[in-house]
């Protein structure tokens, strides 16, 4: 399937054939593919993700060690993008073709075009090397996560901003907005109380999905900022053919993604009375 044999990696290039065979037997990779797979599935159902081939530690421990950093990074990233995207998107929609709208469009075009690793490198050069506001690498404090979350957040903000603007423009063209104006409400009430509430629904869905993606680890950004997050863990697992860790990682990411989607659905029903369960 995948070229490369973990037994060879562990034993080293000059190892004797008998040693390699012994390692294979120990890892279980000498068994037929189907057997290996079924055994793994059976273990997963008992929440046993096995042991990492390279470090010899349980996969679940390795993932849980790295997860807090990835979680913080993802949450900071999505918060930042929401904080940028929603106000600017709403202003863009309310004052179409104004200065703010053009600024928003410029931002979203640039944000979508700029690769986040490049933005990360630029930020490092400017704010860590030239001005030394933020640490260059390492982890452990929130300061280490500011620049990575900006790099991650900008691209997401660009997408969310366009979505917020489009959604808000659509809501403002709906009939209930005419009613709100006919009631003599101020434009502020019409925009923020009546239209925004409905306009946020699709934005929240997409923000949730983006959060899900980010929780799987940000491989490139973690490399740029040398952060020990899930992305790097999984990347090295692939390099070293650490199959249990890769498999455990895939299951974990899938689980987190489903959980976020579920949480978004719950949140959705709080915001949208039509799908509230009575």
């Amino acid at each position: 399937m995948i070229p490369g044999d973990p037994a060879l990696t562990i034993a080293g290039v000059d190892a004797a054939e008998s040693d390699i065979q012994a390692i294979r037997a120990k890892l279980g990779t000498d068994k037929p593919m189907l057997n290996q797979y079924l055994e793994w599935i059976w273990d997963v159902f008992r929440f046993d993700f096995g042991t990492s081939l390279t470090s010899g530690r349980p996969v679940s421990d390795l993932i849980m060690e790295r997860f807090p950093l990835t979680l913080t990074l993802a949450v900071l990233g999505i918060l930042l993008s929401i904080v940028i995207a929603i106000p600017l998107g709403v202003i863009s929609a309310v004052r179409r073709w104004s200065f703010w709208d053009y600024l928003g469009m410029l931002f979203s075009q640039a944000g979508m075009a700029i690769p986040s690793f490049w933005l990360g490198i630029l930020l490092l050069m400017l704010l860590s090397i030239k001005y030394r506001v933020f640490p260059l690498f390492g982890s452990g404090s929130i300061n280490h996560l500011i620049l990575p979350s900006i790099s991650l957040g900008i691209a997401r903000a660009a997408v969310l901003l366009r979505l917020t603007r489009a959604s808000m423009v659509e809501e403002l063209s709906k009939e209930y907005v005419i009613t709100a104006r006919a009631k003599g409400l101020t434009e502020r009430m019409v925009n923020y109380k009546h239209a925004l509430r409905n306009a946020l629904l699709p934005v929240i869905t997409i923000a949730g999905i983006q959060l899900g993606y980010m929780l799987g680890g940000a491989i490139i950004i973690e490399q740029v900022f040398s952060l020990p997050g899930l992305g790097r863990l999984f990347l090295f697992a692939v390099y070293q053919r650490d199959f249990p860790l890769i498999q455990g990682g895939v299951v974990f990411v899938a689980f987190v993604f489903s959980f976020i989607n579920f949480a978004v659905d719950i949140l959705y029903s709080v915001l949208n009375p039509k799908i509230r369960i009575s």
């Binding site: 709906k174 009939e175 209930y176 005419i178 009613t179 709100a180 104006r181 006919a182 009631k183 003599g184 409400l185 101020t186 009430m189 109380k193 009546h194 509430r197 409905n198 915001l271 949208n272 009375p273 039509k274």
Partner: protein
């Protein structure tokens, strides 16, 4: 100059066009309407004839640009509405002039409770506290026939039936005791049985609160039920105005006759439905002369050249047609 009489609303020669890239659309071409307190004036016409522009311009909700008021005045309680600052118009809207719309399902905010949608007006216009506003809202739910129901107050629009939604919307419109109510096809989206109930409700509002009501409709059958006076609008111009009785029994304008003949009638079962040939002209290219002449059975050469003046035929019955003697 006539000093204001007891007309609640007096529209004089109101002329509005919309400036678009492909040319100007002449939506209202000098209309005159008056409504007194405790009176229901029906404004009748086909889609695209200018009914909604009329009501929206009374509310000051026609955006300028793209719209432009070419001429005319809108006197409400003797005071000009055209050119009022936005902030002043906002205090009139919902408070002194309120509006009920055609499709309550679309015109109510889907994600706000009915109670919130009513109380926000009372709090804004009448400075009530939240608690007072809730009490007042319950009273008005009772007025519109929903009972003093907290369940309705706490319901979202989709949890109510179509008829209940329209009643809730009427409660919303009348909660600040407006003296003028604009009802834009308020029964069109409802079942026939509900239509009758809503019409009764509107009639009772006129009596109880002595509101002036502008009832916009394309349905002459309903108009006959509810209106005190009727104005027929065609291509942005009032072609005939009369009391209810006079309009239906002594129809002057050929367009009004044609509309009357196109009402389906159970007695004429088995006959082909009479429709007016052609359709309302676009506001961008209104025919020369009488705008109705291309569809009119009585049209003569004169009709295609000369715009007919509105003539008074006594007892407040007026029509704009060359062929009426």
């Amino acid at each position: 100059m006539t000093v204001s009489n007891n007309n609640l609303l007096e529209i004089k020669n109101l002329d509005i066009s919309f400036i678009q890239a492909r040319g100007a659309a002449h939506a209202l071409r000098g209309i005159d309407l008056t409504i007194s307190s405790g009176e229901i004036l029906a404004l009748v016409g086909e889609s695209g004839s200018g009914k909604t522009v009329t009501s929206m311009s009374i509310m000051g909700l026609v955006p300028t640009p793209p719209a432009r008021v070419n001429a005319g005045s809108l006197l409400f309680k003797g005071e000009e509405l055209i050119g009022r600052p936005h902030a002043e118009m906002r205090k009139i809207r919902g408070n002194e002039i309120a509006m009920v719309f055609q499709e309550p399902a679309k015109y109510l905010n889907p994600s706000l409770k009915i109670g919130e949608q009513i109380t926000e007006m009372l709090i804004l216009h009448l400075g009530m506290s939240k608690r007072q506003a809730v009490e007042k809202s319950l009273e008005f739910l009772d007025v519109v026939g929903l009972g003093k129901s907290r369940r309705v107050l706490n319901a979202y629009p989709h949890e109510l039936s179509g008829g209940m939604k329209q009643r809730a919307m009427i409660a919303m419109a009348i909660c600040c005791n407006p003296s003028l109510l604009l009802a834009d096809e308020p029964t069109t989206a409802l079942d026939v049985t509900l239509q009758l109930q809503i019409l009764k409700l509107i009639r009772s509002l006129k009596a109880t609160f002595s509101m002036g009501i502008l009832f916009i409709s394309h349905n002459l059958g309903i108009v006959r039920e509810i209106a005190d006076r009727v104005s027929v609008i065609y291509a942005g111009k009032i072609v005939e105005s009369a009391s209810n009785k006079a309009l239906f029994e002594n129809t002057l304008h050929p367009y009004t006759s044609a509309l009357l003949q196109s009402i389906p009638d159970a007695k004429k079962r088995g006959h082909r439905l009479r429709a007016i040939p052609g359709s309302v002209p676009d506001a961008e290219n209104i025919p020369q002369g009488c705008s109705f002449h291309p569809r009119c059975a009585l049209a003569s050469d004169r009709c295609s050249q000369e715009i007919p003046m509105t003539k008074d035929y006594g007892n407040g019955h007026s029509a704009a047609c060359h062929m009426v003697q």
